[in-house]
Amino acid sequence: MSRVTEFIFRRRGGRGWHWTDAFTWFWLIGGFVMMFGPAIWLVNSSFKSPAALAEFPPTILPYVTAAATVEGHEKPLPLYEVTQPDGSTKVLAEVRRVGTVAQMVDPAVPGETVRVNIQDRKPVREVAFAVTNYVQPFLSFDFFRYLRNSVFVTVMATIITLLTNSMAAFALSKYNFRGRSFVMLIIIATLMVPLSVILVPLYSAITAMGLSNSLWGVILPTVATPTGVFMLRQYMLTIPDELIDAARMDKASEWQIYWRIILPLTAPALAVLAIFSVVWRWNDFLWPLIVLTRRELFTLQIALNTYAGETNIQWHFLLAMTVVTMIPVVLVFVFLQRFITTGIAGAGLK
């Protein structure tokens, strides 16, 4: 069943290809490569050993040098493909390397050692996932406590954000009162204030209220985001005023109009804001870093930062945990994006 009219550009007549169809696929495939490619690579990288991560040129899949256990040697020996003087190649295991010469053995004939110039050998590599990148942090890292903190911050902040922002947006889109433009102006003007600009006074305010080293200190300053108010207000402008009239005739209180009429009809925009809020709060770094110094209060992002030292960043752990921390937001996105569907605000009108 083709719901033709949902197209902006529609497949004209349903037969043959319109240029917009071709373009759509071009964009989707291109988008997939461009947007998703690096992300996939990121995930692959999270399975690389520190050495492989530092490697030039980077590989797409995680590789390690293959190794074989050879009789007479305790540890597995790395395997190399050796070009022999006659030009043929052979896989040998390296016992040790001294300068430019490697001492190697044929795993099949463990007894005799061959000397090979290191320029004549190439490591035999195989794909191997460094699962330790994931396992290690789970063992040494208080993962579930950080997760709980992150979830608390994200959920509370998102709920409060949605509530306060949608209330303000409702007031700013559906009421005529003096000073409306002024309020709107202030809100938008403060959109421009980067957090770093007000960091210090903000920290003073939080400290004065006794909210430093408290999760609420992380949550509260973020919930009045002008972005949300602005976005919701613009969306609400598209809801016909007649519905509000109808509700008033139905003796609905203003609160009920907000709650029963406006909110459901704003669902698509709320879903967008919810997604953003979750992503923002989940990934928030700078502000929680300032407010939280006690480990038991750390959010995941702050905890992850532990892997960033002064001179050395443990990318292998950092990437692995980044991937893990991404999973919840991906799920949230998948859940919420279903609400970004056809707005129906006009459907009740003649």
């Binding site: 009219t5 550009f9 917009t20 306060t164 007031a171 613009q234 859940f335």
Partner: protein
């Protein structure tokens, strides 16, 4: 559709989650109705604004005002009480120039370098970001199979923290990165992307588009979906070609959301920092040194902070932003007036 389809289950879960919220909302009604009787219908506007404005006042406006005072103080101390009042000295330093278009002639050459770099970045970024976001939203708005999947594809980078974004692209773009490796394999000449001025600039723009376009596309998508279907039907009956449908129906009706995107893109372009910082570090030379990095370095990163100077610079930046945004809003308002239904 079977009863136990995952979709049903999900929305069922949603309903259960919503139940307590709905209860609270219902409990709130009697007191709020009483409030409404006292304050009148329009008085409720104040009530709806209150929570947001309270948080806003404490956590945004108040610090902002403090920040203005900050910019008139000097020294390295962090807390206002420990700082010395210097009046407009910080601003004087920033504005001490023989010619504003030539940063080299300024006392604070890096500030002006950052100003002009930022201006260039903003112009290019805003145009490309809006266009790419719009095209993406239009494509995603079509009746696609596996729509959620495609949405997720374009939104995915938004989930990544800026540091990871910068890092991943650094790995791709650095001299011995994935891209050059690919070029090399294809027999093309590798380019030192992050050391050539123009390429580094393109990379900064491109990567920040990559990282954020999903965000704006999503806003636009919600807006697109809100356009009543019957208008498209009417347009179709009017024999409208797709391009014209876009210009005459879609775009004007998308205007409120487009405005959101435009304002946000502009603001965020002016504030660009994290991912570019990780990607290019402001280089090559100072080619991608943007205002926020300047402010960050002056105010936080160097061992001898100069928070007063950073505040002054940030306030100048904010002032410019406000002017730009008001300009945008002014245009939008005129259109809105004409478009009032």
């Amino acid at each position: 559709m079977t009863v136990s389809s995952p979709r049903r289950v999900l929305s069922g879960a949603g309903a259960i989650l919503m139940a307590p919220v709905a209860l609270v909302a219902r409990l709130l009604d009697p007191p709020l109705s009483a409030l409404q009787r006292v304050g009148g219908t329009n008085g409720m506007a104040a009530f709806f604004l209150l929570p947001n404005m309270a948080v806003f006042g404490i956590f945004v406006l108040f610090p902002l005002v403090i920040n203005i005072i900050y910019s008139m103080t000097g020294g390295t101390a962090l807390f206002l009480t420990d700082r010395t009042f210097v009046g407009a000295a910080q601003y004087q330093r920033l504005f001490d120039c023989r010619s504003y278009v030539d940063p080299k002639s300024c006392t604070d050459d890096l500030f002006w370098t950052a100003v002009w770099n930022t201006a260039g970045f903003v112009v290019v970024q805003v145009v490309f970001m809006v266009v790419v976001a719009l095209v993406t939203a239009l494509v995603l708005n079509r009746d696609l199979k596996a729509r959620s999947f495609w949405r997720a594809v374009f939104f995915f980078p938004v989930l990544l923290s800026p540091v990871v974004v910068g890092l991943v692209w650094r790995w791709i773009l650095q001299r011995q990165g994935l891209l050059n490796f690919g070029l090399y394999e294809l027999g093309l000449t590798p380019v030192n992307w992050l050391v050539e001025r123009n390429w580094a600039f393109a990379a900064a723009v491109g990567v920040s588009i990559w990282a954020h376009v999903g965000f704006y596309a999503l806003i636009l998508l919600a807006g697109l979906q809100a356009i009543p279907k019957d208008l498209y039907e009417a347009a179709e009956m009017d024999g409208t070609r797709p391009a014209r449908v876009f210009w005459r129906i879609t775009l004007p009706l998308l205007a409120p959301n487009l405005l959101v995107v435009l304002v946000l893109v502009l603001i965020r372009a002016v504030q660009i920092f994290d991912e570019v910082y990780v990607l290019t570090g402001g280089g090559p030379g100072t080619a991608t040194l943007y205002l926020t990095q300047y402010i960050y370095e002056v105010g936080f990163a160097s061992f001898l902070r100069n928070p007063g100077l950073a505040s002054a610079a940030s306030i100048l930046m904010g002032a410019v932003l406000i002017v730009l945004t008001l300009f945008q809003l002014g245009i939008a308002r005129r259109n809105e007036m004409r478009g009032k239904r």
